[in-house]
Subunit: 461 residues, 2 copies
């Protein structure tokens, strides 16, 4: 009861002061603390992962997810709820199976990487050649690789900031093209992940440098361990593969957009969101139902507290996983609108521990109220100005728009990322609520602060 009363007071204070230039610190604190009891984000996460489940870019399931999103965003009371459609290339996983034929016959658990080629219908069988890094693959003699199944292994550490993903992920992003251009029959990589389960990690990769598509697959980590052990015994290892993945033309995808209109339409848009699509193996709970849920719940709380100075635009991006198509389509369509600030949640829903910025250096002092509002949640400033980014928003960020990033704890993110294990049970409701509180505090400050955070330099991402 007390909380409700407090919220009502906060709301009426905001509504009755239409000229108030900035959210008062005590309003922000009250909104933040009330958000620690949030149920909206859980409701969205539970609903989307249960009633839609997996929602691969361009699929009929992603279309159902857009309809689900429109209904939900309208029911929550947002304005200008709409779908902005675009086309994406279609690729489907099909089936993938692998068996060590010699010297120790046994099956291996793996999955196709995005855009993987297929084997002939009867499968392919070849000797394995192992590499302990992408560099050693790059340096390989094509005569040794030709016709073989390349295996690239690595170690990836679990860290709070997830920083190993960018360098280690090069194996997935570039390994297949390199192997193909060396004449390999197929490539297996150790999953880009930190778990020890038979749940292989898929992910995007594109054929570059004229590479011909070949089967490109990720072994579950225990299977990569196994193949390493077997290769170390020094005997020739033969693997039989069957892969039915296929690319096939274009399909429709789309972004779902909703707004909290601001008092001053000229003040620029505060864009928040995450991505609606998911890989097809899990139900896309931490990647990224929680992202759209957290940002939407926070925007709803600001809306319900009274009209903010600036318009808050919520974007549930489509087709992020297969190559940031939603981000690119958004940039193309909205590049001439004034964006005040961008912020994206796409790193799970464990507690936010840090915030980072990409603002004009002169604007940094304006963030003192943000620092004060986040500190009670255990959130500290970190990184250097310019580090803040996001996946879908990186496209419009290129044009030179300020970004604030609320960084979730990523220690267990890469246990689950892109695996069948990305399911609702992995979301901790208490940490999810801390996220909503952090985003609510951030939006309360940013959407009501008249200070400009730019200009920032346009940049290549």
């Amino acid at each position: 009861m007390k909380k409700t009363l407090l919220l009502a007071l906060v709301a009426s204070a905001a509504v009755s002061s239409p000229l108030l230039a900035q959210a008062r610190p005590d309003d922000t604190a009250a909104l933040r603390d009330a958000a620690l009891a949030d149920t909206i984000a859980w409701d969205i996460t539970e609903g989307l992962t249960t009633e839609v489940g997996p929602r691969l870019a361009g699929s009929e399931a992603e279309a159902r997810a857009r309809d689900w999103a429109v209904a939900k965003l309208k029911a929550l009371g947002f304005a200008n709820v709409r779908i902005e459609s675009f086309d994406v290339p279609w690729w489907e996983r099909g089936e993938a199976s692998a068996e060590i034929v010699a010297p120790y016959p046994q099956p291996l658990v793996l999955t196709a990487l995005g855009n993987s080629g297929a084997t002939p219908a009867k499968g392919l069988k070849a000797e394995v050649i192992g590499f302990d890094s992408l560099d050693s693959l790059k340096a390989a003699d094509p005569a040794r690789v030709k016709g073989k199944i390349v295996f690239v292994t690595h170690r990836m550490a679990a860290t709070q900031d997830g920083s190993p993903y960018s360098p280690v992920g090069q194996i997935r992003r570039n390994g297949p093209s390199i192997a193909s251009n060396l004449g390999a029959a197929a490539i297996l990589i150790r999953s880009i992940g930190t778990d020890h389960h038979r749940t292989p990690h898929t992910g995007s990769q594109n054929w570059s440098d004229g590479a011909r598509p070949i089967p490109a697959l990720a072994l579950a980590n225990p299977d990569a361990d196994q193949l390493e052990r077997i290769l170390k015994r020094g005997r020739a290892v033969t693997i039989a593969l069957k892969v039915t993945a296929k690319a096939d033309g274009k399909r429709t995808s789309g972004n779902v957009i909703a707004e909290v209109p601001g008092r001053d339409p000229a003040a620029g848009i505060v864009l928040v969101g995450g991505h609606l699509d998911s890989w097809d193996q899990g139900t896309g709970a931490i990647d990224d139902a929680t992202g759209v849920a957290i940002t939407t719940a926070a925007a709803k709380r600001i809306m319900d507290a009274g009209q903010p100075l600036r318009t808050i635009r919520i974007v549930w991006f489509g087709s992020e996983e297969i190559g940031l198509f939603g981000g690119a389509a958004y940039r193309e369509k909205h590049k001439d609108e004034k964006h005040h600030m961008l912020a994206e949640s796409d790193f799970g829903a464990d507690r936010v521990w840090r915030y980072q910025t990409s603002l004009a250096p002169a604007a940094l002092p304006a963030l003192k109220p943000l620092a004060a509002a986040l500190a009670p949640l255990g959130i500290v400033p970190g990184g250097k100005n310019g580090d803040a980014s996001g996946s879908d928003i990186s496209e419009i960020q290129k044009l030179g728009v300020p970004v604030i990033e609320l960084s979730q704890d990523g220690t267990r993110y890469f246990d689950l990322h892109h695996t069948p294990d990305d399911t609702l049970d992995k979301v901790d409701p208490a940490q999810l609520r801390q996220n909503v509180a952090a985003w609510t505090a951030m939006l309360s400050v940013v959407a009501n602060d008249p200070a400009d955070y730019g200009p920032v330099e346009p940049r290549a991402h």
Copy 2:
């Protein structure tokens, strides 16, 4: 170097005192402490899971595992290494897939239970009827169940002693026959396990009470959560299934046996072991490569320290998983031999925390040296006399043979049990060594103690 010297002294003491009736406590302590640096158990576990991998009862892989075992046991220097063959019914998993067709289309991850029937080749589609316990299924009106897909859920807690497995496992063992006799088209159960991964738990069940085989499957726990959530929304739920499991005649299985001959052939056999077969989804690391590895490593340490009073017989049982066929075959063949004591390791390789007994009450005081030898490893007496048993040894235990049970910590055992995730990375080498030390201490006492531990009553298991 010190350890080697100590071992040599222990060994020479034993050899030079052939009439020594009992291992001296300081010999036992030295053997136990040396075993904390054991490498044999890891070597067996790593070798069997890597060079053979999955080894389903009656399969060609299980036959390769027997050959592997014979070579390994001979190389370790054991006597009377041999295979004792027997026939087992053959069942193979085939493929199993499931999809929610309505109201929220999405795939589910599941696997067939042992002896599952198949669907027609084109699959089957039916409405789901959910039950929250085996009792509620038993009480169901056949008219409501007929032609439907039964779903039985439950909660199973992770505990140190694994005690929930016996009651909760009734859902797997008896649910399929009950559902079939009620006219169900198929049965899905929540996996009998404590994890939250998309790695469903298989396990044995037999068609009883004249039940006709139907598809009988276990959903991964996140998928059971999902189906529960969807059913709670109150709309009719339809699932499409395809299952190609099949039973087909008989195949050959076998037990692999090795011995450390004792000084007194009339003193009775101390039987130790585990099972060589595994389910086909994982590589059978904790179930039960570690069991054969721990008991074999301990026996090897006793053998190397000098001839024990009693013969130690190591049995790597075949076809345990599908119904204790190796235990029954052993009983049939060896029922007339004098067995002094039985002990089996089939509960993973986390630390031993307790020992239990099934001895003649009058023999309990003879175990004081055992208690003293185990206490430094953090192992305490527990349960009541009569509780000790084992899976394969339960067959010969029925005839009235004393049993000592060294209980591993089972807290994470049912995260992995019967899943694809039962792989080598789940074995903690330090805890594995503690197991070898406990078994070495136990064998040092029991194989050299002239006291009789019987008679115990023959019992139904």
